[in-house]
Amino acid sequence: MPEPLLEVRHLRVEFPTRRGKLVALDDISFDIAPGEILGVVGESGAGKSLTGASIIGLLDPPGRVADGEIRFAGRRIDNLPYEEMRKVRGRSIGAIFQDPLTSLDPLYTIGRQLVETIQTHLPMSAADARRRAVKLLQETGIPAAEERLDQYPHQFSGGMRQRVVIALALAGEPKLIVADEPTTALDVSIQAQIIALLKRLCKEHGAAVMLVTHDMGVIAETCDRVAVMYAGRIVEIGPVAAVIHAPAHPYTAGLMGSIPAMDEDRARLLQIDGAMPRLNAIPRGCAFNPRCPQVFGRCLVDRPDLLPAGATRAACWLHAERDVKAAA
């Protein structure tokens, strides 16, 4: 087992409000190995983007890491001062956000933004940095990279902008890229191109990826492992094939069943009734218990931790029961 590149341990993120603390992330623990692609999936408000933001140190105040720690290559990064974190960001951990238009500065040419990023992180002359910028743009499949370097973001289409954003994320040769919904704003045909590109480039550059998305299809095609989030916690984590084909948590099973499939016909989609609880009204015990079809006594009282469940680990008491029965 190689040393993990990123270790997140018992991460807790809180937002103090007038009506008390909101716990947005609670007891999040996971690892990312070098070169691995970890998917993080969940519905809006589950805390997946917040997990990404905590790792790159871009939590919006008043949100703060209240407990736990984040280690990158063995070094603790969640409590670094702002200037120190700035050096980590871009150099060690790159970021790609959902909206390619707001990720680029409309007042500067693409070239200037790339050269600035490269020179911030790597000791290079302006001419070398420009050559590297051209090379990066070429790698991301932008035609006529040399000329396009001197154009402004508005002269690029959505798909092309996202390619520029990927080039920017790779500019400092980071070992980890946090990609937050990188294809959500794009059309399906462009989405497939960008995902393939991201996967290929990260492999070539040896970068690990944390891919935050709500699209199970993207996860299935791209990731090695996947973490499923619900109401601020990880409810299931494991290899992609296992989570998709044999989900151990009732929520994951419901989520998979609610996706219209391309290869089977169903009169009705499986639906999980109700909605994810708000942060100020998370039920006692397992947060999923009011919607769970397999709920039983213990779910209402104790909150389950991640328990081994077949090939994955799931935060569900069903699996504790099974272990007890197996042991007996």
Binding site: E43, A192, H214, L255, M262, A275
Partner: protein, 341 residues
């Protein structure tokens, strides 16, 4: 052959996007037009669902708006149950207006945040004079008001909300619940035809499943006819009976669902199907999709898809293909017509 509920013939919509008059004079800029929808035709049988799919900018939402009368067509006709929807003098007859309603994409923008759900759902009732004369004329006789409340309660129950929710404001609901309110509002005038413009694309998958199930139940119980606009082929496959694929303002393929998904004919349809991430990881081989949608201001000559098409030849670059009937599907492609693919 029975008469279709909705028939659209040669529908076109052109938007004038020219620079202001003075700029045109001073900078010698020509007038510019976007042909958002061009020569679109289809029919929808009663109780069926036609889905229109395509990427952003292909004109699918414009078709939706043309159908419900939010835009006036530049050319072509919409015939609803045998009646020309344009009506005498171009205005839409009231008798048709209340028989078709629309559900919009964004459940946050399509509900007035200052109105109670009761007023939102009751608005079409007042507008079209349902729920007694009192409501129609605006006088608030107690009996009429009660009838409206009762009716709104029934509508909310039919979409899985509680009648008591009528007293709440939109911000008290989640995205999925808001979309149900939109559906309840659309159902208020007891329409036969609903135009749904990306009704679930702003929702999470589990909530999307809830809304799609409700829409399907309502179709069965009320015999509704849907025009379903979406960019998500998996959703389209789930809801539709017939599918039209649009590219740059035109329908390039129109076929029954089973045929379209089993045997896509048009290269663009094949490309779209190939681009869907494979959730079951069956190892299906995928051809990488090339290029992007061209600028609609300056569309390619001939077939609009030719710059991205692996099968394009000289004819595709010069002559625009017509939508032709071929073995149960209608395809606008020279290569398919000539039997090259």
């Amino acid at each position: 052959m029975t008469r279709p509920l909705v028939e659209v013939v040669g529908l076109a919509k052109t938007f004038d996007v020219s620079a202001p008059w003075l700029n045109r004079i001073a900078e010698r800029k020509p007038r510019q037009f976007v042909h958002a929808v061009d020569d679109v035709g289809f029919r929808i049988e009663r109780g069926k669902t036609l889905a229109l799919v395509g990427e952003s900018g292909c004109g699918k939402s414009t078709v939706a708006r043309l159908l419900v009368g939010l835009y006036a067509p530049t050319r072509g006709r919409v015939v609803f149950d045998g009646i020309d929807a344009a009506g005498p003098g171009g205005s839409r007859p009231d008798a048709i207006r209340r028989r078709m309603q629309m559900i919009f994409q964004d459940p946050y923008a399509s509900l007035n945040p200052r109105w109670k759900v009761l007023d939102i759902v009751a608005e079409p009732l007042r507008e079209h004079g349902f729920g007694g004369e009192g409501a129609a004329s605006g006088s608030s006789s107690a009996g009429a008001k009660e009838r409206v409340i009762e009716r709104v309660g029934a509508l909310l129950s039919s979409v899985g909300l509680a009648p008591a929710d009528a007293e709440k404001f939109p911000h008290q609901f989640s995205g999925g619940q808001r979309q149900r309110i939109s559906i309840a509002r659309a159902l208020a005038t007891e329409p036969e035809f609903l135009v749904c413009d990306e009704p679930t694309s702003a929702l999470d998958v589990s909530v999307q499943a809830q809304v799609l199930n409700i829409m399907k139940d309502l179709q069965t119980s009320r015999g509704l006819t849907y025009l379903f606009i979406s960019h998500n082929l998996a959703v389209v496959r789930h809801v539709s009976d017939e599918v039209g694929v649009m590219y740059l303002g035109r329908i390039v393929e129109l076929a029954p669902k089973a045929t379209l998904f089993a045997q896509p004919r048009h290269p663009y349809t094949r490309m779209l199907l190939d681009a869907i991430p494979d959730i079951h990881m069956s190892g299906r081989s995928r051809t990488p999709v090339q290029g992007e949608v061209p600028n609609p201001l300056n569309p390619p000559s001939g077939c609009a898809f030719n710059p991205r098409c692996p099968h394009a030849n000289e004819r595709c670059r010069t002559e625009r293909p017509k939508l032709l009937e071929m073995q149960g599907t209608r395809v606008a492609c020279h290569a398919v017509e000539e039997g090259r693919i």
